[in-house]
Symmetry: C2
Subunit: 268 residues, 2 copies
């Protein structure tokens, strides 16, 4: 799926990169991906970094990416400085540093490969969440106004029952399963997964907490997703001194595991 | 626990850093941490990188570190180039690049904080593995010769029953729980956890596979460990085209979660 083929979609418009030097690209971050913080979603920034690295990688498929969120971003122009760490025969690794003004807001290291060459053993010991068809489920955000949370307009969700926190009754269980897709019909691909893995509300809200801030997020990309809805399972197990992990496993509409992410976040 | 206080232990001797410039330290990697590959364990290299970053960090406690293993290391001298990404009021983030000869073998980004200031909510929804006292358990490596696998001499393990792969009968279940500690009596601390989290044999060996190679490892450090044995739980759930994750949760002897790591590895 080329960038050109997706030019009508907001994700591709808002991650479009303009060459500005041999190792420099610029991007116009928009206010269409804002979270409750009034700032762009971290996964959106990370997706920009991974896309920038992919454009100069020898291999097309991001395999693993780790992002450190150094400062909050803001809608507006950003510069992404690129560097190659290693160009190997089967993988390549690079680093992207995103700046706004004089401040570095994001640092991403990512390794790329060609997943068509990944012909080793496949075995899954965990299956996708047992969710009814999306058509039979509810949109948890239907009729809910989230002023300023523009990222909620970019993604559609389907759930078996509405989140407890949204009804003022947190369930006490910081885990959730749901279907997810881009609201404008864009199909998922490896480049959009760093965003999608961070697009849902934090599971700790079911513990009565306010949304936490991501400090670091690592994502493993396993397979190119088939078109259609994505099945997601998000889990937090350990809150220690205000820090917590959040694990997100994502399967495509064919039941294939396509990504696993884990982030370290801190409560406000 | 200062480096000086631990000077009699091999981990501290073999991760000792010598200043070589304003942003450069050198280290003598030894052959005492070799895996079955005949190369130094990746976690050992990562621990060197994290230690180098800690020495110039405003804060003492590593909180999250991500390492990309670019090329195999070798016993012998290595240079570690250091750079500060951000020095904030509550955290600092830096990057270390380890070179041998002209080749970069490892890149680590890590964020440091002061865990004494982590006074937010604590809640654990998963408990430590239900293991009998280490004294009641067996040493899985007793009487086993692993020529050249020197890292097996650095760490002691205690298990309920010996691993299936070691008896030529892989169990088919790539998960395991065990106790672990340094063999020479060094107590665990945050700086040694990047090594310890990668010190056990890969869980995929219970699927009949040979040891895999780590491509990337991220570790979250949650609490400073109490002295004594560490309880570990290692799990792999998804093998896709030869790639797999390996999750490792570590608790200290008091039952406190101290670290979570996840790596992406590839079968040989």
């Amino acid at each position: 799926m080329s960038a050109l083929a997706n030019a009508q979609y907001l994700f591709d418009q808002d991650t479009r990169l303009v060459p500005a030097g041999p190792d420099l690209v610029t991007v116009q971050l928009t206010d269409r991906w804002n979270t409750a913080s009034g700032r762009p979603n971290g996964g959106y920034l990370m997706a920009v970094g991974v896309r920038a690295l992919q454009q100069r990688s020898r291999f097309r498929d991001p395999l693993v990416a780790s992002a450190f969120f150094l400062r909050p971003g803001a809608p507006g122009p950003a510069r992404v400085q690129l560097e190659t760490a290693r160009n190997g025969r089967r993988t390549s690794t690079g680093e992207a540093r995103m700046h706004q003004g004089a401040k570095e807001i994001l640092r991403v290291v990512a390794t790329f490969a060609d997943l068509d060459q990944a012909d080793g053993r496949t075995l899954s010991l965990a299956t996708m969440p047992d969710l009814p068809c999306p058509d039979e489920l509810m949109d948890p955000l239907a009729g809910i106004a989230l002023p300023g949370v523009t990222v909620a307009d970019r993604v559609e969700y389907r759930v078996v029952q509405p989140p407890g926190w949204l009804r003022g009754r947190p369930s006490g269980d910081p885990s959730m399963t749901f279907w997810m897709r881009f609201a404008d019909g864009r199909e998922p691909d490896l480049l959009s997964l760093p965003f999608l893995a961070d697009a849902a509300y934090p599971a700790v809200m079911e513990l009565g907490e306010l949304p936490s801030a991501t400090m670091e997020l690592t994502i493993h990309l396993r397979n190119r997703p088939a078109p259609g809805w994505l099945a997601c399972q998000i889990t937090t197990r350990h809150l220690t001194g205000g820090f917590h992990e959040e694990d997100c496993d994502i399967w495509d509409s064919q039941g294939t595991l396509i990504a696993q992410s884990r982030q370290l976040a801190i409560l406000p």
